[in-house]
Symmetry: C2
Subunit: 162 residues, 2 copies
């Protein structure tokens, strides 16, 4: 882990009227590398989620029609998550569903776009759609932003190694 | 096919502010039968979609983490669809994604609830979430309602045989 990595800002937008969350973040790495860090399980476990969590993957088929299941663990407990890879378009786009075991009736649909900014840089844009504004607000208030910010900082650090 | 089957009304609600479509329909059959008609491929091909279409399934794993692909064909052409089964909770709930090949960047997330009304009746409630009001309005204006109404009429007829 490098302590000198420069971190870009994360923009998290929750439209008051529409139950979506948009997350935009730039990375100083080309789309192929940022994409790889999202689909190769040995890389994903190195950055996804907040700092101080251990991630264990029990299912991982990062291809169109595949599915995943993993858990995050810390001193306070274990948190399970699962979903499907609706579409994996290499280097460009991932569409996946997401459910937290602790809120089993909740589900959201996330579309990730990997945009090439040239000069070895990528803009990652994630749009997450919920079934209701209430469900979206619950996700926002759960401390999701910490997981996103710290996860992407860990991804910056991982990308310097790729 | 029975021509004497009584058909219930379909309620299709597209909230002007939120990009969802809610579809509610009752069936004179118990939840187990209505659910079965949604997961067994030999039954699904007998009712899904508008009248006059031939349905061919090329992938069908109706279980949590599974996926599907099928096409509808008529004299005018062939229309392909694919998606994932995010969750299949037997007799209760199906959560699935959906993309029409002709609009490959569009995707929606559909949650189907099978509610037991007693006396061998079921209320099916489907909530479909889109990423934007524009995408939802495009789906509505594509003639989706005809497919829903006629599909459920065909399902009524199938259910009398189960």
């Amino acid at each position: 882990m490098s302590t000198t990595t420069r971190h870009h800002e994360v923009t998290i937008t929750a439209d008051p009227a529409v139950p979506t969350i948009e997350i935009v973040r730039e990375f100083d790495a080309p789309p192929a590398a940022v994409f790889r860090a999202h689909v190769e399980p040995d890389l994903v476990t190195r950055w996804l989620g907040p700092r101080g969590m251990t991630m264990e993957i029990t299912r991982w088929e990062a291809e169109t029609g595949g599915a995943y299941r993993y858990s995050h663990r810390d001193a306070n407990g274990e948190y399970g998550f699962y979903g499907s890879f609706h579409e994996v378009r290499p280097g460009e786009r991932i569409v996946q569903t997401f459910t937290f075991d602790g809120y089993p009736d909740g589900v959201c649909l996330e579309t990730l776009h990997f945009q090439d900014l040239g000069d070895g840089r990528t803009r990652l844009r994630g749009l997450t759609a919920f079934e209701s504004v209430e469900a979206r607000d619950l996700a926002v208030s759960s401390g999701m932003d910490t997981g996103v910010v710290e996860g992407y900082e860990q991804l910056d650090e991982l990308l310097t190694d790729l």
